[in-house]
Amino acid sequence: MLRKVPDRQSAIHWTRAALDVSRQAIEAAHAHGATGMEVVTALSDLADEILRDLAHAHREGSSDVPGIALVALGGYGRRELAPYSDIDLMFLYAPDCEAQAGVLSTAILHHLWDLGFQVGHSLRTIVDCVALGQSDLTVRTALMEARRLAGDEALFEAFTRRYRADVMQKGVQEFIGAKLEERRQEYSRYGATNFLLEPNLKKGRGGLRDLHLLVWTALARHGTSSFEDLTAKDLLSADDTRSLQEAREFLWRTRNDLHFHAGRAQDVLTFEEQIRIAGLRGFTDLPHLLAVEQFMQQYYRHSTRVCDLATRFTSQALRGSARQRLAALWPGRRIEQWFVLTQDQITVPTELRKEALTDGARVIRLFQLAQQQGLRVNDDLVQELPERLGTIPDLDFLSEDARRNFLAILSGPDRVSDTLAAMHRVCLLERLIPAFGTVHGLMQFNAYHKYTVDHHSLLAVGQAEELGDGKSMLSQVYREIKRKDLLHLALLLHDLGKGQEDDHSLVGERIAQETAARLGLNEHETQLVMMLVRDHLLMAHTAFRRDLSDDKVVLRFARKVGTPEALKMLYVLTAADIAAVGPGVLTQWKETLLGELYVKTLEELDGEEGAEATEAVGFRRDEVRRDVLRAAGDRFAPAWLARHLEGWPDRWLFTMSVERIVAHLSWMARVEERSALVDVRHDDATGTTEYAVYARETLIPGIFSKIAGVLAAKGVQILDAQIATFVDGVVVDVFRVTDPDCPVDARARRFTAVSGAIVGVLEGRYTVEDLLRDSGRFGRAAQSVPLRTPTVVQVDTETSERYTILDVFADDRQGLLYVITRAIFDLGLSVHAARISTKLDQVVDVFYVTDQAGHKIIAPDRCTVISEAITARIEAFLGAAQDARPQAQRISCAEKITGRKP
């Protein structure tokens, strides 16, 4: 193709054309399906041919000038040129040929430049090579792959011998370590994960560089880089070799596509190129999975394999040093019959594997131990596991032990995400959660996500874990969550519905339900995980797109979330999900808005017991108590006062003025065994009235409910109510009300009447039902409500140590509080604290209850009964008030409550 031409100018013209023709032929072959290997080989051959011809031409016919050799290095040395790869050349010369080498290199390099090649070049003697190889990592690596193109053969052989003896066989350990470190730094620049959505095919994780790392390691440690040799030496399994060859072919061919199309050394697989190449490879869009997503799933499979194999091969070679081989012989600690723990690894002895790895629970236990002890699962074992797992029947992963071990891994406290990722790599996670298999390397084709679904999910767990140490509110909330296993599970599951036809949140909810059943979670746990998955976008949508100063927005959200524990989980899940989208996506901006929604919702869901015993709270508590003591002077017996102040709930201490606290105390001091006291205060500014009722707990059962009943019977509207029980059984119930029927001048009389009725009922002279019958106002449709939001009663056993908490959401109606509290009373529960609030036409009531004996109710069956009973009573009441012809069942219910025949 190329001939010696005396005139340089015309030679360039000629070779340019020839080069173009040859390159076009190769490109055409590529387009017609030539393999990646055929193309890189053809391109290397073409470069070889040009260089040999140039060398020949510039030596004016004397083909064997002694003392100079033209040598290809690096990727070109390996004969792996991509269409726009650099060409790495070295002019090797004997010390007495320096001048000729200079002349020759100048001539050849000018030619190459004029031809449009990107050339890296050097002029070196053998001594230079050895010295540089010893001192410079890049040079050392490039020279390992030196290949003679033309010139003095004996000189090149002398170089090879010297270089091997003086450089390549020295400091192998350090070399591999240094290459690994260099690669790590590259990862951090070009993608710390192989699950980037726009990966760099060469330098990214799982890219060609990882293959090179393996090749260099093999050359350094074993003196060969051919996969065949490595397989023959049992350093790679036949399976590994096949994977590596397939992956290399995939990466080469794709990279060739990129270079040819861009007309330059373009190594980043951009979205645009992904779509184009997916089309070229014959992928077509399916309803739920785009062509490009199918193509990229292939890419991720290959790159994961490359990355895993390269890492394993390199670390094995690193540990192959004599000292470490000795350490490996050191007997490890044997535990639980099957497992051996060494300094940094856990393994199962080779001879036991066949027997040991037949049990699902045991395999999970292996990872659990690795997590607990901070160990790595042995590489050989990791390599063997996928195949072994294939022989274990599905049912085996559903055993009691298997479930327990898996939930323990999810609980942490440490290395949850790492452990799950390790389980994912050996295809264990998908045996426990089958849906995880379908998102293996599934990309999310949008400009927002950076990682594939499986990686994103694992990363999200990691993001939550990282919160553990922080000081932010988010960290604080994460630490407060008791069932971290459920949170981590929800994070793992939240996006698994992707890649299917339906809304991914709803598909995800089904997957969550199936997974919960597989893991044997109880009804409450199942519902919680399902909610977290189904509504995993709800908090972000609400916080970023809704007006958080609008009570309705917060209420609607609170109603969907239900309990403080669920809210905490959703808050952390939302933040972790966003953070796992990519670096810097969870901004301060987003955190602030999420935090604001969290605090506002918590205020709705949480009642009295919320305040934690933090230092700051304790300090403030002492401060208020001191103020109260000072203001009280000598009005109370000191011992009595101290005892009472001790028991004051934080919510009251922090929200009431010192004067109000002292006033409460003086009423409390006057409460006697068989009587009730009422203090009425009217606030002109807000037009509201406060009834504070003081009595002994033992006076009559259901005090709170009875007061609510009296107020309802008297036509007073309750805005909010608080109840607290004090040390010696004194209860204080404070109701803030409005009194729409009461004219201003009749106020005093009215207060006396209402107070009198309360005292009368509490002291047992008459009943609420008597009053209701007299007033005849109860159950009357006070306002027409065309659209009702469904009633929700949540039973929360997580938030408080001592109490079961009921969160009630319902439409407001005159008398509703009485219906609820009466239902609670009828269920045999006693209310220890409550927060009643009405916003717009909605009530959110929080009750802290126990059974009569003062024990927290935790039995799930009982909780269900409670929730259903209260819901039924509220529905019956609201339904009866609204509907003129209520159903039979409702009549009987309403009758029981109101004591009225319909």
Binding site: R545, S549, E612, T614, V617, R620
Partner: protein
Amino acid sequence: MKKIEAIVKPFKLEEVKDALTEMGVFGMTVSEVRGFGRQKGHKEAYRGTEYTIEFVPKTKVEVVVADTLAEKVVETIIRAAKTGSIGDGKIFVYDLDSVVRIRTGETGDHAL
């Protein structure tokens, strides 16, 4: 040409965007910003401990329009972003020297 920069409440973004699109403004730049004006941030209590939100999250919308449209754009943004409560935001209007569309090199109104 005028550049109009509006700082609005985050949840008002959709409404502002829709209103602007409807009146024929097709391009805009949106960013998450934090800051404070007369609101001066605010304090929140979490579990008895107070924490300060020094900078309130807002959304910044930037549009560039021909001089003739500027006034209408401002009115539209006000209409869409107003809640009447504190923290509704501000609108800044700037004179603009030139605009270049990078792909084609077009300038001035043609580049909008």
